[in-house]
């Protein structure tokens, strides 16, 4: 009985204590839209589309939206929800289509780079097949190309981990924020400034990755990665520095930059950049925009995506008639037509530029030049990095960008010489004539356990170098410059309809493991020396070379499109062949 009385007494005491403690507990003050706001209300908005007053924190970062203490509230919180492993859960709630497309895009998989590398190094019979980064993640490969990809190329993919970069200035990856973040989040005196995201992606975000290999990004801004050393000095520092160890010369920038200050996204559509949901093999498959889309546009009624994008941009007026890409039918919502004019709006600030259609003058309509891609004439220069000496140390150790750890095997890269002038021409991936440059020419030395092996994989690649100018290269530059023809630098002569070429570069004397000149894509009799980066791409063949060089004798006199023979070239040809017009040779 005494136990009963004691337990009753103790129970009453406990009830009292418990009631007191619970009554003393502060009652949570509900905050909207989630309880996170009770601590994070001073955090700034990341953009105008996701106001924190409406979205709160939970919607994008997870955690416990009702918790009133840090420990419970932060349980399960994702700091960067835009990483692709989380994006579907967070960003994907509204942007599921985009997340899906980006996840399978080439900028995430890097399958294009990996497959071309394996193809050029003789590990694949065609430059397609592997899935890219995802496929290599759990693979312990012995392939040399895969090793090089892991150590040298794989740092650039959309979902790379930013924290693996020692120098945060060059950090890439992070999912959606890799491109969309324009300012990193940081703590200020009294409040936290949230990372700022934007659909107006500055070109510097693209240049984080697009500054190596074919160097499109830096070429566009008139920077040619050179063998120089960064002078002139300014304020006691190098002035022409790309990054820690690379320097540049200033060359003419792309006219789209010099004339209108356009950024990459002014031309490149969201489907072209973020993928179209298909498994593309190469950049040109993923790419959407073509010169004609803007310079010979087809206008249609603005669709809902166009309206949404221009609304999101905020600087671009909504209009009924906009241009669409020919390839993927993506809206070019910043190229608009009204009754009186056609205007191109810069996405960054909405500045309008009058656009006129591509002219119908002979240089654009001549049948003899119908195989020319716009880039073959309008690209003023191409960064051409000849002969890349790749050295592999089997017992060395280097960071593996796929596994994100230091693994066995290391690579070092040394280059031979760089040129920019008179880009070589060849038949590109689109079967049109376009500029070609080394892409890539590898002369490899492999230091293995007890032996040294050598290999070489010489390739030329065709691409749009993004060095467009209104002024084009001269007729002679294409028709009688051996470098342009793909023969390499040297002396060119033509006798009895036969091409004679004496190269300046002597590979044998330079110790190269091949006999053709390092800048030679093709021999004067049409034999292709080097492979390419695409199955259909090639150098000119013998017939084409002879045809091009053969026209030189006409060009000597008829070197202007204003020449009357070009007014109706077919008629001129008939007259000439029938002897009715005389060549004053």
């Amino acid at each position: 009985m005494r136990i009963f009385q004691y337990s009753l007494f103790v129970s009453i005491f406990i009830i009292g204590v418990s009631l007191y403690m619970n009554l003393e507990k502060p009652i949570a003050k509900p905050s909207s839209p989630d309880q996170c706001m009770s601590c994070h209300s001073s955090t700034t908005n990341m953009d105008k589309s996701h106001p924190i007053e409406v979205f709160g924190c939970f919607k994008c970062h997870g955690g416990n939206r009702y918790a009133t203490n840090k420990k419970d509230a932060h349980r399960g919180v994702v700091l960067n929800p835009s990483r692709l492993e989380y994006a579907n859960r967070f960003c994907g709630e509204c942007h599921s289509d985009v997340v899906k497309r980006v996840s399978s895009s080439m900028m995430q998989s890097q399958n294009g780079i990996l497959n071309v590398l394996k193809f050029q190094w003789g590990e694949l019979s065609t430059p397609i097949g592997l899935e890219g980064v995802v496929e290599l993640k759990d693979k312990n490969s012995t392939s040399l190309a895969e090793s090089h990809f892991r150590k040298a190329c794989a740092s650039c993919h959309v979902n790379q981990h930013e924290d693996v970069f020692d120098d945060k200035k060059y950090a890439r990856g992070g999912g959606c924020v890799d491109c969309h973040r324009i300012e990193k989040g940081h703590q200020e005196k009294n409040h936290y400034v949230h990372s700022k995201l934007s659909s107006k992606i500055p070109s510097k975000n693209c240049l984080k990755c697009h500054n190596r290999s074919n160097r499109i990004g830096i070429s566009y801004f008139g920077k040619f990665e050179s063998e120089g050393y960064g002078t002139p000095y300014k304020h006691g520092e190098f002035s022409h520095k790309l990054d820690g160890s690379r320097f540049y010369y200033e060359l003419p920038a792309d006219i789209h930059h010099t004339k209108a200050g356009l950024d990459c996204i002014d031309c490149h559509t969201e489907k072209g950049v973020m993928g179209d949901g298909k498994k593309n093999h190469h950049m040109e498959d993923a790419e959407d925009i073509k010169c004609n889309d803007c310079h010979k546009p087809k206008f249609k009624k603005a669709d809902s995506l166009a309206v949404m994008l221009s609304d999101l941009n905020g600087n671009i007026p909504e209009t009924k008639s906009i241009a669409y890409t020919n390839k993927k039918n993506s809206p070019i919502y910043n190229l608009q037509k009204d009754k009186n004019s056609t205007k191109f709006y810069r996405k960054r600030d909405g500045k309008a530029f009058d656009m006129s259609n591509m002219s119908n003058k002979p240089y654009h309509t001549l049948d003899i030049h119908k195989r020319l891609d716009c880039t073959s004439c309008h690209s003023s220069w191409v960064p051409s990095c000849y002969g890349c000496h790749e050295v592999y140390f089997e017992n060395g150790k280097q960071f593996d960008w796929v596994k994100r750890e230091v693994t066995k095997g290391s690579w070092q890269e040394f280059r031979s010489f760089l040129r920019f002038e008179s880009p070589s021409l060849g038949v590109g991936y689109n079967k049109k004539i376009m500029p070609f440059a080394p892409g890539c020419q590898v002369i490899g030395t492999l230091f293995k356990d007890k032996k040294v092996e050598k290999f070489h994989a010489m390739a030329m690649a065709g691409w749009d170098p993004h060095t467009t100018q209104k002024e084009v290269r001269s007729c002679e530059d294409c028709h009688f410059n051996p470098a342009s023809l793909g023969l390499g630098r040297g002396n060119l002569d033509i006798k009895n309809n036969r091409i004679f070429f004496e190269p300046f570069y002597n590979s044998k004397k330079s110790g190269m493991p091949f006999s053709y000149p390092i800048d030679g894509f093709v021999s004067s009799d049409g034999k292709q020396f080097q492979t390419t980066s695409r199955k259909d791409a090639r150098s000119f063949n013998k017939k084409e070379l002879q045809k091009i060089v053969g026209a030189y004798k006409c060009i000597l006199c008829h070197d202007r499109y204003s020449d009357k023979i070009y007014k109706d070239f077919n008629k001129s040809k008939i007259l000439f062949n029938s002897g009715k017009t005389v060549c004053l040779d």
Partner: protein
């Protein structure tokens, strides 16, 4: 002692029932996880009543077990067979109540527990017919809510009434039961709710199910699990007729094996 435990057990049941009646006002089966979190963090005294409901129910189960152990330690069971059956049935219903309560917290572990239960029912002959009674294709927690909040309390009340003939509130025992519950809740925390977005490698069901979970993982068949679950109840029923040493040893063996698999 037996009477003392019996009264406290009854009081614990009433505390669990009353606290359940309070928390049910803010529980929405269609938005279950959110409503549990709101109850725990935002609703004034919500966590107090949730803890009261949880701990009173847990202690209720323990006190039933203690009550049975005391009765079994006696030379003979003094209540009639019908009453004995009802008491064992009440224990079974109490465990089902505990399980449905666990599911109603609607976190990741609750979802997993519900899915395991569905699978067990589906793969058990005869019991598979009852699957539609718990699985709702529109509101996942609705039928669990109906069972936990309405039918199972009525059934257990009926079983207890059949066992004790009268359900009465003794204010002193009620105070002691409340004191014990609050004391436990002062020192112990509710098991952590695992957020629906949290990445966890492993989730667990309610503690009394851990043994069965691990046995399933060890490769025991669904039928075998059913036998394991029903065996102690059959042994308890059998003990009324012949309270032999063998049955007691068998029950003890069961407890040891189940405990071994539980940890």
């Amino acid at each position: 002692m037996s009477k003392y435990v019996a009264w406290v057990t009854q009081a614990l049941f009433i505390i669990s029932l009353l606290s359940g009646l309070i928390v049910v006002f803010v529980y929405y089966p269609s938005n279950a996880y959110d409503s549990v979190q709101k109850l725990s963090f935002i609703t004034p005294f919500g966590l107090f009543f949730r803890e009261l409901h949880y701990f009173s129910s847990e202690i209720f189960i323990f006190s039933i077990l203690v009550h049975i152990l005391i009765e079994l330690s006696k030379k003979e069971i003094k209540i009639n067979f019908k009453s004995w059956i009802y008491s064992i049935f009440a224990l079974l219903v109490a465990l089902v109540l505990m399980f449905t309560g666990f599911v109603l917290k609607a976190d990741q572990s609750a979802n997993a527990a519900a899915e395991v239960a569905f699978s067990l029912l589906k793969d058990t002959p005869f019991l598979d017919k009852f699957l539609p009674l718990v699985r709702d294709n529109f509101v996942f927690y609705w039928k669990f809510f109906v069972w936990h909040g309405l039918f199972l309390p009525l059934i257990i009340e009926y079983a207890i009434l059949k066992h004790v003939r009268k359900l009465s509130v003794n204010i002193s025992y009620f105070t002691i039961a409340l004191g014990v519950t609050l004391l436990v809740s002062l020192f112990l925390n509710l098991p952590r709710d695992i957020g629906l977005d949290e990445k966890v490698l492993h989730v667990k069901g309610p503690w009394f199910f851990w043994g069965a979970e691990n046995m399933l993982q060890a490769g025991l068949s669904v039928l075998g699990i059913n036998v394991v679950i029903i065996l102690p109840f059959l042994l308890l029923i059998g003990m009324y007729k012949s309270n032999t040493k063998l049955l007691k040893i068998l029950l003890l063996l069961w407890v040891i094996i189940y405990a071994y698999f539980s940890v």
